[in-house]
């Protein structure tokens, strides 16, 4: 801002003051316009991605996608095994990761306030929350796949569980901290031991928030590809065995999208459509669950 008022004050320097005011208004207008533009750009990307998925994926959507398993190019395959494989691994990953995450969140909020160990656990959990998922896949590969003779559905589920834990930890801790002390004191006054006041009072009061965390975790792992590449690998045949390589929707999309066959690419778009709208629906659901009931 080069135009400055002299010491005589604005009243005597009307011309300068007006020029300065106009310039400030112009700068302000320009910044506001750019911010609006930035928001439009952000929303446009979301709209563009969704429109692309609908345009390219919807045309390939048919009942056979859900009733037929993956087949070689040109023989009208579907995605049944990929969908089932994804459901199994996501469910197992959630089932393994949620209790652990819940306990860690409880520890942080109820037992570790102010303790050094608690600080360390919180810090590490936050780092794991954003750690590259491909490394979690490599980690599970080195501890489960390579020593125990091969890719398996279990390995995939464990890799996903490792991703679930920090998400559930964060929401559980945040939600338990919101529970008023008076509620805990009331439970203690009635003679309940601490664990009962946590499980039957605090968990219940924080149920909305904890459920939100679990839903967000499911949404996150349902679309994860990189950790599954090294653990459950993908399987183009029908297999429900958890000790064998297991198919999953994201990995199948990855294989099909990179292929040279038009019908496989088409199926990849259908899979992308299914997974994106599934994940977004879970996210919207999580927000509805959390919305205050007032």
């Amino acid at each position: 801002m080069s135009a400055t008022l002299s010491h005589r004050g604005p009243a005597r320097d009307a011309v300068v003051a007006n020029a300065l005011s106009r310039r400030r208004q112009r700068v302000n207008f320009l910044v506001e316009a750019l911010c609006l533009l930035a928001t439009f750009v952000g929303l446009a990307f979301l709209a563009l991605i969704l429109a692309t998925l609908l345009y390219l994926g919807f045309s390939g959507l048919s009942a056979s996608v859900f009733t037929t398993i993956t087949k070689p190019p040109g023989s009208h395959g579907g995605l049944l095994n990929a969908i089932i494989g994804s459901l199994i691994q996501t469910a197992l990953g959630t089932a393994i990761g949620t209790p652990i995450g819940l306990l860690v969140g409880t520890y942080l909020s109820e037992y570790a306030r102010g303790s050094l160990l608690g600080e360390a656990v919180r810090f590490v959990s936050d780092v794991l929350l954003s750690a590259p998922s491909i490394l979690i896949g490599l980690f599970v590969y080195t501890v489960m796949v390579s020593p125990f003779g091969g890719f398996s559905g279990w390995a995939g589920a464990v890799a996903l569980a490792v991703i679930v834990i920090p998400i559930v930890v964060r929401t559980t801790e945040d939600m338990l901290r919101l529970i008023p002390v008076a509620l805990r004191e009331a439970a203690v006054a009635l003679g309940a031991p601490k664990w009962k006041s946590i499980v039957f009072i605090c968990y219940r009061a924080a149920l909305d928030g904890i459920a939100t965390g679990v839903l967000l975790a499911i949404a996150r792992i349902a679309g994860e590809t990189a950790p599954l590449l090294f653990t459950s690998l993908g399987n183009l045949n029908w297999s429900l065995s958890l000790t064998q390589p297991m198919s999953s929707l994201p990995v199948t999309i990855y294989q099909y999208a990179g292929s040279a066959f038009d019908d496989w690419v088409q199926l990849a778009w259908v899979g992308a459509l299914l997974i994106t709208f599934g994940v977004l629906a879970l996210n919207v659901l999580a927000r509805i669950v959390l919305r205050p009931r007032t």
Binding site: N28, I49, L103, S130, L138, P193, W269
Partner: protein, 316 residues
Amino acid sequence: MTQTVAAPAPSRRPIGDLAFEILATAAGVLVLALLGAIIVSLFIGGLPAFRQFGVGFLTSADWDPVQQVFGAVVPIYGTIITSILALLMAVPVAFGIAFWLTELAPTWLRRPVGTAVELLAAVPSIIYGMWGFFIIVPFMGDYIQPVLIDWLGDLPLIGFLFQGPPFGTGIFTAALILAVMVIPFIAATMRDVFQTVPPVFKESAYGLGCTTWEVMRSIVIPYTSTSVVGGIMLGLGRALGETMAVTFVIGNTNRISTSLFGPGNTIASLVALEFPESPAGSLKLASLLALGFLLFVISFIVLAISRLLLRKGKVA
């Protein structure tokens, strides 16, 4: 914490209480052990490569499976350059969105637009990769890159950044997709951070006649700068380790290209692509695990700084 009522001390702790505390503490320790296990397992897995090449692993640009010579320079360079380019594109947009959402937007629009931005963060990375590969790559190759090469390719000093054939894929495209992916993360953090500014501060500035932008620049940003940098680092952490989106569009060549439109690779994309061709126990697999270890170290440092900054600013 408010003053707690002194209860009559029970003669002994209920057994359930003790068990539950031990269980919860054990779960906490498990998280620490998990981090330790990730670091140790990647390091041990990469040990044969570190042994074979020593420090040379960090300084060699070779990646030759035939000769069994592997070096980390090209993927590390690609990882850092794509992430930084992505941040250069993402931060201004994310700042604009956060500014708009906290100060400018009509109240009834804040929640839906905020949710839409958060949904952008929820789209799986494989979708970004596919969308980038089928939609953005042809668009870049046909329209954006030829124009930029025409306009900027002959400039002195910076012209070399914009030369070469317009493939559509490459470092620049990968950075663009990464930018779209990290915009919502940075925007959401910045929005939360901006909301922590006490209204009295802003009201005082408005009372002195400041415009919205002046309030932002002179009150909100200085007040929140630590946390804002933390939020940007969080976005950087995301960009460094992103795999699927980059793998589709970066072009996958193991050489350092001077042009931004040239192909390259990142640690994550190289690992994802080469892993299927790396038999268990081979030196190549060890090199990939060693790369994973390096990526973990880089991301850990970035994320740790981000958390410290965010906590210092008392957010998140």
